[in-house]
């Protein structure tokens, strides 16, 4: 149990490190941190579904990849798209996709929900992989990153990796703050109630389907934000962005970090990326080491890595 003072000190040090990073670290590490933050947004959005609402989705990458593809498709070949039009279009696209898929998959529950989300994710993967609408299996390159020009003024430049890092940092903190706020709102209390006892929520007068759908759309939109930022960072989109592998990795990061906590996803994303580097340096069979590590964490820390520091280690349920 960490005291309040210790916790504030740790948070303060972390804040200083995050702000100072681009000034002291190599480009490689700044880009790695950017990647971790983008994944953290993706896994936080997954936590809203899995950890808080109790909807275990195996197709969450669909919304991530779809937003990336939308950016690639609306970017002119050798010119930049505008951030202020391409981002809303990508988010709206992901939201709409989540609305359509959610309307169907949320009619199922439990293991059937998992299978239905997996099926829709794979369908989307094959639409982009097997047809020529978006470059097939090679995907599409984004040669010029979106520009953020407002009436001739450029507040930040995505071609500069330090600028991009700070934008992603602000986006990550923003998503965290928005989700924290939502989880404390009447809506947030309802979705947690649905996880604990959906039948009782219904008999109390809640039309639970609507709340689950709203949650699915919100999570899909935030995954879209992550996918958009990933497409900007890597300058390329391909079907792997939509597929099962990323959906499963997201779940693994969530479990590794600790679900139902919002901080766990950030820890999980960071741990996974750092461990990948470390294990790759040790052996070419690094996936074996990674798998072993995850099994170990699940056995020793059933609440994830956050269980080491958090008071109860478990998810934070509302206590009035």
């Amino acid at each position: 149990m960490a005291s309040r003072g210790v916790r504030l000190a740790v948070l303060g040090a972390l804040a200083v490190a995050l702000v100072a990073l681009p000034f002291v670290a190599d480009k490689f590490y700044v880009q790695l941190a950017t990647k971790v933050l983008i994944l953290a947004i993706f896994v936080m959005s997954l936590d809203l579904l899995v950890g808080y609402t109790g909807l275990a989705s195996l197709g969450h990458a669909a919304f991530y990849g779809f937003a990336g593809y939308l950016l690639a498709l609306i970017t002119p070949q050798y010119e930049a798209a505008s951030l202020w039009t391409s981002l809303p279009i990508a988010l709206a696209g992901s939201a709409l996709l989540a609305l359509v898929i959610g309307t169907m998959v949320l009619r199922t529950s439990g293991i059937y929900f998992i299978m239905a989300t997996l099926a829709f994710g794979e369908m989307l993967f094959h639409v982009f992989h097997d047809t020529s609408i978006a470059g097939g299996s090679d995907g599409i390159y984004i040669y010029v990153r979106p520009v953020a020009t407002i009436f001739g003024w450029l507040p930040f430049d995505f071609e500069k990796f330090t600028h991009f890092y700070f934008v992603v940092l602000v986006a990550t903190l923003g998503v965290y703050a928005v989700l924290r706020n939502i989880l404390d709102s009447p809506f947030g209390r309802v979705i947690v109630g649905i996880r604990v006892n959906e039948q009782r929520m219904r008999s109390l007068g809640y039309h639970t389907f609507r709340y689950k759908l709203a949650c699915f759309v919100l999570a899909g939109t935030l995954a879209g934000l992550a996918g958009y930022l990933a497409a900007v960072q890597f300058g390329v989109v391909n079907p792997d962005m939509l597929g099962f592998h990323l959906s499963a990795s997201g779940l693994m990061m969530l479990i590794l970090g600790g679900m139902g906590t919002l901080v766990g996803p950030v820890i999980g994303a960071a741990a996974m990326m750092v461990l990948e580097l470390v294990f790759q340096g040790i052996s070419e069979h690094w996936l074996l080491l990674m798998g072993g590590f995850i099994v170990l964490v699940v056995l020793v820390l059933p609440h994830g890595l956050i269980g080491i520091v958090s008071r109860r280690g478990a998810r934070e349920d509302p206590h009035g």
Partner: protein
């Protein structure tokens, strides 16, 4: 107690039935529940009392017959729709949110009376009317001072009280109570009986209960069910004197 017939009918059913395969769990049951009355449904285990409540609350869809809430037909509506029309039910088997505090259980119930919970901005803790309704319901159910305790850490009897508090927190005009006293100690039982006496002045109450002392203390109408059908229905005095009922259920011993 009120004279039957003088008061507004809140709930009525016409030949309500529910079959599970070949078994008629509820078989052409027609009952009525009036404002200001406790209508107790009694009968041996397996008589179909809980199934009847499930049909009235929408947890189960009827196989036949109709349900009316005042003049409105509610047959086949979803549980959330029926709840929002002012029907509150409690469960025989405690059906609460175990990880949450007693207060959050009642608060979540009270929050369901907001026009919508699609509210994302303000903290749920700042809705004063909701908090007050939750506190009132907890106090009515005898849980004052226990608000902050996670329900999982409460005694079985207290969990039963949370169950009742949640039902009250939605502000219903009709209460469907499925064995509210089961598992309660003598003191809590007496408190809940006292509460039912108070509630009945401005509620209609359908009570399924095995505690005959409690039933005869509060009910103004009794319906006896056996094997899914209504064996007899009438005032407590009439039921007490009914030979068929005595044979089927109450036994030779005279209830007091």
């Amino acid at each position: 107690m009120a004279e039957p017939g003088a008061r507004e009918s809140v709930l009525s059913t016409e030949a309500l039935s529910r079959r599970f395969g070949g078994l008629a769990a509820v078989d052409r049951v027609s009952i009525e529940c009036r404002m200001g009355e406790v209508h107790a449904v009694i009968g041996p285990n397996g008589a179909g009392k809980t199934t009847l409540i499930n049909l009235l609350s929408g947890d189960l869809a009827p196989s036949g017959g109709r349900v009316f809430l005042r003049d409105r037909e509610i047959t086949g509506l979803r549980p959330d729709q029926i709840s929002r029309l002012g029907v509150g039910r409690s469960y025989q088997k405690t059906n609460v949110f175990l990880p949450f505090t007693a207060f959050e259980n009642a608060r979540l119930a009270a929050q369901s009376r907001l026009p919508t919970s699609m509210r994302f901005l303000r903290s749920a803790r700042t809705y004063r009317e909701v908090n007050e309704a939750a506190e009132r319901a907890l106090a009515q159910a005898g849980l004052r001072g226990r608000e902050g305790v996670p329900v999982a850490a409460l005694s079985h009897g207290e969990q039963r009280q949370v169950e009742i508090a949640m039902t009250l927190a939605t502000g219903p005009s009709l209460l469907l109570l499925d064995e509210p006293l089961a598992g309660m100690g003598a003191e809590e039982s007496a408190r809940i009986v006292e509460l039912l006496r108070k509630l009945v002045t401005d509620h209609a109450i359908l009570l399924v209960e095995h505690d005959m002392d409690a039933v005869f203390a509060v009910a103004s109408v009794l319906t006896v069910m056996v094997n899914g059908t209504v064996l007899a229905s009438g005032t407590p005095a009439a039921i007490r004197g009914n030979a068929e009922v005595q044979q089927a259920y109450l036994g030779a011993e005279e209830p007091h």
